[in-house]
Amino acid sequence: MTSTRGDRPATDVDVAVVGGGTAGCVVAARLSEDPARRVLLLEEGPDPQPIPPIVSDPKRQSELILESPYVRMYDVERPDGSSFPLLSGRIMGGGSSINNLAVVRPMRADFDAWSTFGGDGWSYDALLPLLRAIEDDPDFGDDPIHGSGGPLHLERSYRLDETVDPPVRALIAAAGDAGLPPCHDLNVPDPIGVCASPYNIVDGRRQSTAVAYLEPARGRPNLTIHADATVVRVLVDDGRACGVEVRDPDGRTTTIGARQVVVAGGVFHSPELLIRSGIGPSDELTAHGIAPRVVREGVGRGYQDHAVVYVTFQGTTELREDYVIPKVRLIAKSHPDRATPDLHVFMQPSIRMEGLPPLLPVSVRLLEHRATGRVRLASADPGELPIVEPALLQHPGDVEAMAGGIAFVRELVRHPALAEFYGDLVNPEPDADADMLEHILTSYISYYHGVGTCRIGAADDPLAVVDAGLRVYGVDGLWVADASVLPTVPHANTNLAAIMVGELGARAVAAA
C-alpha cells in the first residue's frame, strides 16, 4: 500500500503506531512482518516519495539542517536568559532522517545504568544479540559483538591506519601521547581514543529508519502509512487504550479504533501526547484543564541530553573544508579518575572571515547529565510546540566535567603535532578561570540527544512512566517506544539506542 497524506483511515487496526520517527518506523516495520496484524503508522510530518536529495544525500547535511523544511526547532533558555535551539526531524524517519548519520552504540556503562531501572533485560549481555541483529557491519561482521545482514548498514569511509591527512595524523599523535589510542571500532562496549566514525550510508544514500526499515515494508497490504496526520490524543476507555483521535492538515478530526497503541513521538512529543491524553503529572493536567485518566508524575520529567561547548583557537594555516570532522571523533575522559569516558571531542571545520585569520573551533560534548529537565505543554492544543526546560549544565558535577574537558582540549592542542594547526585560544579569552566558567554557562548548546521524558522504572518508582517492557503504567494496551524511555542519556549518540528501543517495543507488543 502506498502512503496517503492526511486522509482518514477508513478501518480500525490492530496496532496504531503514533510517530514515524527513528523508533516508530522500526516498530511499524517489525510489527507488520506478521501479515495477520493490521498496522497503522501515523506521522505528523511529511513522507515525501521519493525521498528528496537534500535528505538522502549525506553531502547536503548542512543544507538539510539549515535550509530544509524537515527540521523543527524548539527554543530553550539558559538561566541567563539567552537562548539556543533544540532540534527534531519533522519527516518520516524523524531524527534518523536529519541526523549526522553516526551509528554509535551506547557504552556498557549505559546498559548497566539502565538495568538498575529496567532489570536484567536491559543489560549489555541481554541486549547484545539485538544490537547485532540490527546492524550490517562489513568491517567487523565476523566479530562476535557485531552483526551482518541486519537492516542497518554501517560504513566507515575513513580508516585510521590509512590516513594521510596531516591534521588527523596530528590528532592521532597528540591523543596517543595523552594515552588515548586509535580506536578502529567505536562500537566496542568500552570505547576510548581517536575513533573512526561509522555511518549508516549505502551507495551515498542516507539509511534512515524510513529507508532501512520502512521502505522494505511499504508494499505490505497490512501496513497503512498516514503522513501529515497529527494525533490529538490516545483514546482510553475503562483503563485500556482503544484508539487515537487524529487531526488532518485541514483541521478535520477522526477517530481510529486500535487494539494496541504504541506512542513513538520522540522525547518532546511522546510525553506531550500522553499528557494531552490525560496521562501525566497532576500539575500539568490541572493547568491545561485535561481530565486525568492516570496521574503519572514522571511524564515529561527526567529529560537528559548532552551539553556542547565550543572553544575556538586561532588557526595557524588554512585547512581543507573537510578537515577532521566527520571522519573521526575523540572519546576521552574529563578527568583521569572517571570510570567511563564522558566526552566526545570534535575538531570542527574552520571559520573564515575576511580580515581575520582562520579560526578553528573544537567542540567538547559532555556525555553525562546529572540534572534532569522537563517537557511541559504550552497548551492543550497539539498545534503548539511543548516547552522544553533541558536543565543542561545545571549540576555542579556537569559544569566541573565540562571545564575538565575544555582544560584537556587546551592541553591537547599544545602538543607539537597539533600546534602546527592550532594557535592561541581566542574564545573565550584565555585569561581567567572565571571567564571560562562564564563561557561554559552562557554559551552551551545541545548535542540534540534528548532522552528520559517517559522513562522506564519499577512499578513503585514514582517517576517511572513505563515498565521494563515499555508498557505505560495504569493503561492496558499502551506502550511508549522511543528514546524517551531511556532513563539516563547514553555515552553515545542516541539514534542507534532509539532504533534498539523501537525493536524492543515491537517485540513487546507482539508478545502481548
Partner: protein, 150 residues
C-alpha cells in the same frame, strides 16, 4: 549573546567620537564589512561575508545610530538577514567614552545579539568565535587611524 568590554585608545575623546559616529570610518575598521552605503546621517547598510567549513554566507545588515549624546551615550541598533538561512539577527549596542587624560580615552561597550531562525544553530558559535578577534582588529584599526598624522 552578550558582549561587554572596554577599549583604550590613545586619542582625545572628541577625536574618537568623530570616528565612531561616522559609518564609513567605523565600517572601514570592522573586518569583512563591504558594500557600505549611507542612507542618511544616521543609517547605513552593508554586508559581511563568512564561511564555516563548506557553508558560505553573506550577512546583509542595516545599522541605525539610535542615540547620539557625546561623550557617554551612543546607541546603535543593527538588523540583518543571512543569505543561507534567511534568519534574522538583531544587535543592540551601547557605547560611551570616558577621558582618561587629554590624550587617551576609554571606550566602554555593551552589546546584545539575538539570532532568530535556523542561523541560531551555528550562528551563535560563529559570533562568539569571531567577536573577540573582530573587536581586537577594530581596536587596532581605531588606534592606527587616530594616531596617524593628519
Amino acid at each position: 549573546m552578550r558582549l561587554e568590554g572596554t577599549i583604550d585608545i590613545p586619542a582625545p575623546a572628541e577625536a574618537v567620537w568623530a570616528v565612531i559616529i561616522d559609518p564609513r570610518d567605523l565600517a572601514a575598521c570592522v573586518p569583512g564589512v563591504s558594500d557600505v552605503r549611507q542612507l542618511d546621517d544616521r543609517t547605513f547598510e552593508g554586508s559581511v561575508r563568512a564561511s564555516v567549513g563548506p557553508i558560505d554566507g553573506d550577512f546583509a545588515f542595516r545599522s541605525v545610530l539610535a542615540t547620539l549624546s557625546y561623550p557617554d551615550e551612543l546607541v546603535v541598533d543593527v538588523e540583518g538577514t543571512d543569505s543561507v538561512t534567511k534568519s534574522r539577527v538583531v544587535a543592540h549596542i551601547e557605547a560611551g567614552l570616558s577621558s582618561t587624560s587629554d590624550e587617551s580615552t576609554t571606550l566602554a561597550y555593551r552589546a546584545t545579539v539575538t539570532t532568530k531562525g535556523r542561523l541560531a544553530i551555528i550562528g551563535d558559535m560563529v559570533l562568539r568565535a569571531t567577536a573577540g578577534m573582530m573587536i581586537g582588529q577594530v581596536t587596532k584599526c581605531l588606534r592606527a587611524r587616530l594616531e596617524a598624522p593628519a
